[in-house]
Amino acid sequence: MLKSTGIATNKDLETVIPAKERLLKGPVAVIECFEKIPCNPCYTSCKRGAIKEFADINDRPELDVDKCNGCGVCISNCPGLAIFVVDEAYSETEALIKLPYEFFPLPDEGAFVTGLDRAGKPVCRAKVIKIQNGKAQDRTPVVSLAVPKEFSMEVRSMSLEDYYSDNTIICRCEEITLGEIREYIRKGYQTVDEIKRISRAGMGPCQGRTCGPLIMEEIARATGQNVADLKVPTYRPPTVPIKLGQLVGGEKNE
């Protein structure tokens, strides 16, 4: 899969993600390097000797998780942008992820952005805690993001758009914001159909094509369920809006 998509699978990741006990102790590097290529700056940059010496320069790096203190020097030194530092002891509910980010503009510290997974799909809201962009980073800035703990092994990049802000419009036809949807979920509305009836989300011309799945994701997030286990909303005819005149025949529906 990795060869055709460029996206690491769970099986690939199992070989590089440190054990849970180590993760809970504090920051540690996660080296998502799966390709045998002649490259070793991670080894040469690590002052603590946590990345073992390469017998063959084509070898993949091997991390001694007990020596690694998560300083993050290797992040900017990796030409493949394959190294991250994850701190699962950051707070009760959040993990801190340090990631390389070679795009302009850089976000402001304190800003909310959207955490993206390895495929570039938005997964959660993230807060920019720190940006390291000094000489040592050599034009590969390192961004520290605080994310909900369950996404510590999902988020590997970010979008500067704050998709998960309360102000994001979820239902474009009826202009219902994510904040409103969240409020209804907090008040106990359990399904898309219930939220549709009280908020009008999904009642417009597109009939919930966009907002239906988004609301399901938000219900799953807020209630700790899987989207696959949620009740699918009722879809009603017609598939596309149709003129009353056309229903009686003789008129074209442009």
């Binding site: 359990q190 159909d193 011309p205 009939q207 009603r236 809006p241 009353l244």
Partner: protein, 382 residues
Amino acid sequence: MNKTASAVIIGGGISGCAIAYNLAKKGMKDIVILEKEYLCSGATGRCGAGIRMQWGTEMNCKLAKYSVEFFETANEVLEYEYDIGFKQGGYLIIAATEKEVTQFKKNVALQNSLGIPSKFITPLEAKEIVPHMDETKIIGATFNPKDGHLDPFHTTQAYANAAKRLGVEIMTYTEVTGIKVENGKIKGVQTDKGFISTPVVVNAAGGHSQQIGEMVGINLPIFSERHQILVTEAVEPMQGPMFMSFSQNIYCQQTPHGSFIMGRGDPNEPRDLRVTSGWEFLEEMAKTCIKFLPPLKDLRMVRQWSGLYNISPDRQPIYGTVKDAEGFYLACGYSGHGFMFGPVTGVVMAETILGETPTIPIHMLGIDRFEKGELLLEPSVV
């Protein structure tokens, strides 16, 4: 989960929520509402959301007037945080036959005598109220400016929230599977989540009232049938009142949101519990709508659905007790008008259950009227 309640109300629509609210307001404790799905998932949430006082029987006029006057102040009385969305744009009920003209003149006289400000008007006067109508297709109309439109979801939620604040427990996704009766008295309700001991059960199950009646061994003289409805895209406000015809079988109203909502009955509809949608309805609906309101041919319909009318022999509600099961109360058979009667249902049913004299005398709406043959047939229904 096994528990005890002073009253169990079956049905989480407007009737059930309004009855629970009124009982709690009068001081009753430990009231439980049982709802198979979620609030408004049945007939209330599927209705056309029209509210009118223009009826052909004194009883329906009184029930409707009480309800309209409540809706006018419901946001404040129920202390609702959102808005129930009551728009009083009136109802324009058109007469297409001479028989209707005669009936409507009688209706208006009756309505006026009860303080309902309806009037009989000419086709041209009707066109002034709904400028896009084809007035040549009608021979008269009645208009009451105080009729209108109301959001069923928010209105039911307003009642439910107020009831919860008074201690009512609302159990959604809880299905009634049986009712225990011993020696002619109600003992409790069996649900898929456990048994609730109670001396009082209210049948406010809308389209499923017949099935609830069977659980206590009563064959209610009611039946349910599907009524279909469609809604269009939202457009700028262009139609103030509901446009309605009994003989032509149409109701069509622009909601405060801008969409047009319209429906009609089908004389060949089978009596069952289906809430599916069919294409035949779309064609007939569009034909009737375009005949009277030609410019609406360019509106796009975005959705169709259906709901159950729970129909009684005289098209008036059935309220009150039953002979063979003490503690079993009926609030059903609204024949398509349960939503607009919600407030009065709540009040008179709570009073009946608590042994008080009902605000509006409803003894003639008891189930025994069918045995006695004392029917007052409502002529004004779609």
